[in-house]
């Protein structure tokens, strides 16, 4: 294997897919006021109901208290008035390549990210139109009646569909950050898969991003109609550098009866980012929803993908990995809500804490009365490296039905000296041995990823492990 391009066809596509940047730069207004929201909605040419939705959400945001979990200290340090809530085209360019931190450039180098792509990922060039890839994909899926647009275009072109499902899974008032997102959302994906349609190729948000930069307040809505199948992939393993430190997305999934939907996320934010995301799915009769969620980077991540099992026989699955390195706090977890009978769920959470990093599993299992014969399986594995690293588990279970089967396993392990000695006695250096143990630990997650993501994630772990040996 001589390099990335041999193994990863997709990246070949990328090289050709990314054209020279258009001169499309942004200027922003700071602060969060009704005026900002109105102006944003107007600029986008939105229907009145969306403006009203935004304004109501804004009021909710102001009224709601901060969450009392995760890291209250970090949450309370967010300066909401110091954030650009809407970016519009202008003639000034804020950032240059020189402003991008060295460690980010260094990582791009090591991952072998093509030059042009680096600037895009670093948020320096405002946009790359990955037209070739996106359009060939579009052509293929459009023939099947699949809609795959950015959320703004979705609202423009499919208003009735959006109106029906938007905020139906996550109401604005769900929490402070869903309210914030509802008020100022921009970008994200809108996906609709018609009944019985099987989308064979994963839909990758990465290819779709054209009008917006890495959105701060992305809003994604995916509707998998009856009996359809789709795999949606968001994010990439390359570090995503953003100057703005707050990222607060909302992702809603509707899996209608018999639909099968997998949502894969790999996020690797730069170390200044607060990543506060609300993700939830409604799964109806015999539907299957899987969240595959990988979190690296960021300063603070709070993210608890949720599945509401609303129809009989629905299955929800949440598989997540969090890597907390020095100075990072990954507060991740999962929520499953068993509402209908004979619903099943499985949560597998893996966390790695290194060099003083902190990771938490925060889980909620709720079984309603009448959700008879439901089954829940929860497995939490934490791997600790270094004496000052930390891992916590906060599982909550509210079981209101007796006729259910609930299993919960939690394990905390340390990379043992004996394990390292064993590997080193075979000739691996201490660092290679550590990387091997960590990659083995997340293997159950990695094997669920498409090949190119799996390869990159393993390489990324290797980078995260660099310098971990004194």
């Amino acid at each position: 294997m001589s390099g990335r391009s041999d193994e990863l066809d997709i990246n070949d596509d990328y090289k050709y897919g990314f054209h020279d940047p258009e001169v499309s730069v942004y200027k922003a207004e700071k602060g969060l006021t009704e005026d900002v929201v109105r102006k944003m909605s107007e600029m986008k040419g939105e229907p009145d109901w969306m403006l009203e939705f935004r304004l109501k959400a804004l009021a909710t945001f102001h009224a709601k208290p901060m969450p009392k979990w995760g890291s209250t200290e970090l949450l309370n340090s967010i300066q909401f008035d110091d954030i650009y809530y809407y970016l519009k085209p202008t003639e000034e360019q804020g950032e240059t390549w020189d402003d991008v931190p060295e460690y980010i450039k260094d990582t791009f180098e090591k991952l072998g990210i093509p030059e042009a792509e680096r600037k895009f990922l670093a948020g320096v060039s405002a946009q790359y139109e990955s037209e070739v890839v996106y359009h060939s994909l579009q052509k293929e899926i459009e023939a099947q009646g699949v809609i795959f647009l950015d959320m703004d275009a979705g609202l423009r072109e499919h208003e009735e569909l959006v109106r029906k499902y938007f905020a139906s899974v996550i109401p604005a008032e769900d929490n402070k950050f869903s309210a914030l997102n509802s008020a100022v959302w921009s970008g994200g994906s809108f996906v609709y898969v018609p009944p019985g349609v099987e989308v064979t190729m994963p839909l990758q948000a990465y290819f779709r991003i054209n009008a917006e930069n890495m959105g701060q307040f992305e809003r994604t809505l995916i509707i998998a109609d009856e009996g359809s199948r789709v795999h949606y992939i968001e994010g990439c393993t390359a570090p995503t550098y953003v100057r703005d430190s707050l990222h607060s997305a909302v992702v809603e999934i509707v899996a209608l009866p018999g639909a099968q939907l997998r949502y894969t996320t790999i996020q690797n934010w730069s170390k200044n980012v607060y990543n506060l995301v609300t993700k939830r799915a409604n799964a109806y009769e015999n539907a299957l929803v899987e969240w595959v969620d990988g979190n690296l980077g960021s300063k603070l991540t709070m993210k608890y993908p949720c599945v509401n099992l609303l129809g009989e026989g629905a299955h929800g699955e949440i598989l997540s990995v969090a890597f907390a390195n020095e100075g990072q706090h990954q507060d991740a977890g999962a929520k499953i809500h068993h509402v209908a009978p004979r619903t099943t769920s499985r949560i597998t959470s893996k966390s790695i804490s290194k060099a003083g990093g902190r990771s938490s599993y925060r889980g909620m299992i709720k079984v309603e009365p009448d959700a008879v014969d439901s089954k829940v399986h929860v497995e939490c594995d934490a791997l600790l490296m270094g004496d000052s690293s930390r891992s916590d588990t906060y599982p909550t279970m509210e079981i209101a039905e007796e006729q259910v089967q609930v299993e919960h396993e939690a394990r905390v392990s340390k990379v043992g000296d004996e394990q390292l000695f064993y590997l080193m006695s075979r000739g691996l250096t201490e660092e290679e041995a550590l990387v091997m143990v960590v990659n083995g630990f997340i293997e159950p997650f990695v094997k669920e990823l498409p090949m190119e993501y799996a390869v990159e994630l393993n390489r990324l772990i290797q980078l995260e492990m660099e310098g971990s040996v004194g």
């Binding site: 000695f421 006695s425 201490e430 290679e432 091997m436």
Partner: protein, 261 residues
């Protein structure tokens, strides 16, 4: 380095763990191409010698030196010793969850390879033939290293590694313990098949049973942190017949201790 240089040598080796002295002056010389057996009761220091030879960080060398091929390796890290050509077959091999045998094996070979590259095809062919020879099941390579392995499977994997990595000097730390006769034969086969003028072995064992299948050139007996007697294969038989007490009694008589030293 002439061919007369011993492949392995311990000189006056004194070793402690957690402040307790376990090895109290061990002298041991292993020539190229030889198989040495190290026998002794539990707690006599045999496994400590194996770990120290491989550079386990928990052991403190209080005095003396360890040489590999004439080079003083007392201060070298474990992985450096491995890359020089040393190998330890563990008494209790560690599980590495999520890492397949073939991935692990590939990484180990790569770590030792010059320039760090290994031809994948060559590697696969070699692995397949080694597995055939040792009677290891084909599904082995896709399983996670030692995870859920039976005692016999773990030992077979150790021998498979020894086979693949082609070390010049292998230490087998009670590889025979807890094995049924089939697994024992696999171990013996592994050693016998790798026996050559270029490769040496130190077989640590509690019983003489394994030595029915591996004929050692030299037998050492360790007691209380010292090698108290060195002899030919007959020494193992004497021990088998008369027990360690016999040797203890002999050692109490001043003349006896000189006999084979």
């Amino acid at each position: 380095m002439s061919d007369q240089t011993p492949i392995f040598e311990a000189r006056g080796l004194r070793v402690a763990i957690e402040g307790k002295e376990i090895l109290r002056g061990v002298d041991l010389t292993i020539e190229r191409g030889q198989v040495h057996a190290l026998m002794g009761r539990n707690g006599s220091g045999k496994s400590t010698l194996a770990y120290v030879a491989m550079g386990h960080p928990s052991y403190e060398v209080l005095g003396g030196q360890v040489f590999y091929n004439g080079q003083d390796i007392t201060e070298l890290d474990t992985d450096e010793r491995a890359r020089l050509g040393m190998f330890l077959a563990f008494q209790y091999p560690m599980a590495i969850p999520g890492v397949t045998v073939s991935k692990f094996m590939h990484a180990a070979i790569k770590a030792r390879a010059e320039g760090g590259t290994v031809q994948l095809r060559e590697f696969r062919e070699k692995l397949t033939s080694a597995m055939d020879l040792l009677g290891v099941d084909k599904t082995f390579t896709g399983r996670y290293v030692n995870e859920g392995f039976s005692g016999g499977e773990k030992k077979r994997l150790e021998i498979l590694q020894m086979f693949m990595l082609e070390p010049s000097f292998s230490i087998l730390d009670e590889t025979d313990s807890g094995l049924d006769i089939d697994a024992l034969k696999t171990v013996a086969e592994g050693v016998n098949a790798t026996r050559s003028s270029e490769r040496s072995h130190l077989v640590i064992t509690h019983y003489q049973r394994l030595l029915n299948y591996i004929a050692p050139d030299v037998v050492h007996v360790m007691m209380d942190g010292k090698i108290v007697r060195t002899g030919g294969p007959e020494l193992a038989h004497q021990l088998e017949a008369n027990g360690y007490e016999w040797l203890e009694d002999e050692l109490l008589q001043p003349a006896g201790a000189q006999e084979t030293a």
